[in-house]
């Protein structure tokens, strides 16, 4: 099967079948990554541009590696050193990139909905690499891949997502995607960081982190996004670490062998102590590797759809 839409804007826009297809394709891509010759010709003659209005290490690099492994011409535009600093609008910037025969634009922006705004204005496929507090679909897909890799299926998995839910596009994308795949999501965090109506997204809102983690198959921490805090939503990092972090004690409430995930970058000692981050239960480094495979799959499937048009 192929993807229905030209763009990958969010988990909201993906069906369960499409998610399965991406995860299945990623398995093949993971084999390519593990092989001695990390080169395919799936994107040969195609061009991929990353357009990032926010800082990023792993998302940007993994998209670039994914493009290169598949033979695409890739380039990146960052806001510093580009005409964005001269005040060029997002729309003009995106159209400029589009006119250079770009097939896929990977976009990260600090405003929710920015990729949705751009998508109808360009021929290129837009991949949302994180928009404001809205979505980060490829992160959710790589998280789901990591879970599926360990447990075989997402159906029925109990997933605890802990921390700053309000500002987290990772939490939103995971809650939407996992629910579509039959997993059960519960969330916890400071009440000041719990957005209204989150339970309507299919997640159970827990009163504290112990309740969320108890009996979970997967425990996911979220980065405390200090740069997105416009209001004082918690009194101090020390208090946050004491009451809201995934400590060893909290983790012991989860099912034995539960997986620990974190989208990175992690504030060690805040979202979780290093002892949890580096524990045998942690799949945080595997997430990074899986991120490349999942992004290869996304680029591949978008390109298949483009070729059919």
């Amino acid at each position: 099967m192929t993807l229905r839409n030209k763009d990958l804007l969010g988990m909201k826009e993906l069906s369960a079948e499409e998610i399965s297809e991406i995860l299945k394709t990623a398995q093949v891509m993971k084999m390519v990554m593990k092989s001695g010759n990390k080169k395919t010709s799936h994107l040969q003659g195609k061009s991929v541009v990353t357009l990032f209005y926010e800082n990023s290490t792993r998302t940007r690099l993994s998209f670039e590696m994914a493009s290169k492994f598949m033979g695409a011409a890739s380039a990146n535009v960052s806001t510093s050193g580009s005409s964005v600093n001269k005040g060029e609008s997002l729309l003009d910037t995106a159209r400029t990139i589009d006119m250079m025969a770009t097939d896929i634009i990977i976009m990260r922006h600090n405003q929710s909905g920015a990729p949705h705004f751009i998508a109808p204005h360009v021929d290129a496929s837009i991949v949302n690499a994180g928009d404001g507090m809205n979505e980060h679909p490829t992160q959710a897909l790589l998280d789901m891949y990591t879970m599926q890799d360990k447990f075989g299926s997402l159906d029925g998995l109990e997933v605890a997502i802990c921390g700053d839910i309000f500002h987290s596009r990772v939490a939103r994308s995971n809650a939407i995607g996992l629910t579509k795949m039959g997993a059960k999501v519960r969330v916890s965090g400071p009440a000041t960081m719990m957005p209204i109506g989150f339970e309507k997204m299919g997640a159970k809102v827990c009163r504290n982190i112990s309740e969320a983690v108890y009996g979970a198959d997967i425990v996911m921490g979220l980065r405390l996004q200090l740069e997105r805090q416009t209001k004082s939503l918690f009194p101090s990092v020390a208090e946050y670490a004491k009451f809201y972090s995934i400590s060893e004690q909290v983790l012991s409430l989860a099912k034995p062998g539960a997986l620990v995930l974190h989208p990175g970058p992690c504030n060690h000692g805040v979202e979780m102590p290093s002892s949890v981050y580096d524990s045998s239960q942690s799949a945080i480094n595997e997430q990074v590797a899986n991120g490349v495979a999942v992004r290869m799959a996304v680029l591949y499937l978008l390109n298949v759809r483009r070729n059919q048009e």
């Binding site: 909201k12 609008s89 997002l90 729309l91 922006h109 405003q111 929710s112 909905g113 920015a114 949705h116 705004f117 928009d131 404001g132 507090m133 809205n134 979505e135 596009r169 939103r172 957005p195 209204i196 109506g197 989150f198 309507k200 997204m201 416009t230 209001k231």
Partner: protein, 418 residues
């Protein structure tokens, strides 16, 4: 100039009759043969509509709208009197700005323009503006619209001082410390990852304003009510005898926050579009006269201010050319209001609040008349609007109540078939 309208349904009902206009007034009979005889073919002939709350953008933002384009748009919507808010550049906070707006409107406009002056100098929420001098030049109310009257102390002084000049304070109710958002706060803002503005932000300030008006025994007018809680508090206050009046806008009974789905910036306004529960409460508030009037909050913006990221886009939608049809389609055709009640909400009630002496077709009144076709539906097309703005969420809507003819002060300001 003598105009005779024939085959009129006055106030949309009764037998077909004629309406005579001479030298700018409605008259029982003409003194001579009419200069123009217009057959309105049984259309509803109503008093010209009065908009107590709009933005004409002049001076300072003529790229969005000016007095000519704005009043042409108003005329196309059946409005004959409009009251622009003072958030212009320079701010309408002194007599010379008021004078320039009134003069431009008199010489070039297509509607009566009754400016609203600022509550505070520069809309800064600190010092009182010159209400008395501005009233001499033509203001009919005061407001810091776009932002709330900043403090309870300033509002108290404004209400008191304005009472010396028989002016009402119209307040945009929003507790700013709670209003750091771009759409209604709720499940949808959570789902879209957009910062929300809770209904509490509006309700808290409505409560403050009612408390002060009650304490002072003086009048307050609440702008663009969008919440169920606001309607409830105003209803209760009126029952106690508090001198509070209130307005709402067509978008608060025709649209919900769902219009923001897909990050459509045409649905970005302040107060934000709320939920179904709120739209029902707004309709109930209109029905039991808790809400006294329907205003447009006509707020044109340039495409460049709307065709951008949702959070960065300006607030506001244009409203003149859809207001009556939305009211007729969503309130009268659904049985919520009678046509008479809708017309009162859009002419006599705002006219009475602002003492404009309009909103009636009685002989001797100014010849401000609007004629609407109530039977044939039309498809609203944003590209056919006369406003400079294109920021409307109603493009493609099928509506009833298309304007056929507008006459302001005995002059034809809009005629559909010419």
């Amino acid at each position: 100039m003598r105009i005779r309208l024939i085959n009129c349904k006055i106030m949309g009902e009764g037998d077909l009759c004629e309406l005579n206009l001479e030298d700018g007034y409605i008259v029982d009979s003409l003194t001579n043969t009419p200069d123009r005889m217009i057959d309105v073919n049984g259309a509803a002939v109503l008093p010209g509509l009065v908009d107590a709350h709009c933005h004409l953008r002049e001076p300072g933002f003529e790229y969005r709208e000016d007095i000519v384009s704005g009043t042409m748009s108003a005329a196309k919507g059946g409005f004959t009197s409009v009251c622009p808010m003072p958030n212009t550049k320079p701010v309408c906070d002194n007599p010379s700005v008021v004078r320039s707006i009134v003069a431009k409107a008199k010489s070039e406009g297509y509607a009566n323009v009754f400016p609203i002056g600022a509550v505070s100098k520069g809309l800064e929420g600190k010092e009182l503006a010159e209400y008395g001098l501005m009233k001499e030049e033509g203001i009919v109310a005061i407001s810091d619209d776009g932002r709330p009257v900043a403090t309870a102390d300033l509002l108290r002084k404004a209400i008191l001082y304005a009472s010396d000049f028989d002016l009402v304070v119209m307040n945009h109710c929003e507790e700013l410390s709670l209003a750091d958002g771009v759409m209604n706060e709720g499940y949808l803002s959570t789902q879209l990852g957009l910062r929300g503005i809770p209904t509490a932000a509006e309700d808290i300030m409505i409560a403050r304003d009612i408390v002060l008006a009650e304490y002072l025994g003086l009048a307050i007018h609440i702008c663009h009510v969008s919440t169920k809680g606001g309607v409830r508090m105003i209803r209760e206050a009126k029952a106690r005898g508090v001198r509070v009046t209130a307005e709402t806008c067509p978008h608060y009974f025709t649209l919900t926050e769902d219009a923001c789905l897909g990050f459509d910036t045409n649905a970005k306004i302040n107060p934000p579009l709320r939920t179904k529960e709120d739209t029902i409460a707004i309709m109930e508030g209109l029905k039991d006269h808790t809400l006294d009037m329907i205003v447009t909050d006509h707020a044109p913006h340039h495409t460049d201010e709307k065709n951008i990221e949702f959070s960065l886009a300006n607030n506001g939608i244009v409203g003149f050319e859809t207001a009556f049809a939305l009211g007729y389609t969503y309130l009268v055709r659904t049985g919520c209001l009678s046509l008479m009640e809708l017309v009162a909400c859009m002419s006599a009630n705002p006219s009475n609040l602002l003492k404009l002496n309009r909103g009636t077709l009685d002989a001797g009144s100014p010849a401000d008349v609007a004629v609407f076709d109530l039977s044939e539906p039309f498809v609203f097309d944003k590209d056919k609007m006369l406003t400079k703005g294109r920021n409307t969420p109603y493009h493609g809507y099928t509506l009833y109540g298309e304007t056929q003819l507008t006459i302001c002060g005995g002059e034809i300001t809009y005629e559909k078939f010419c």
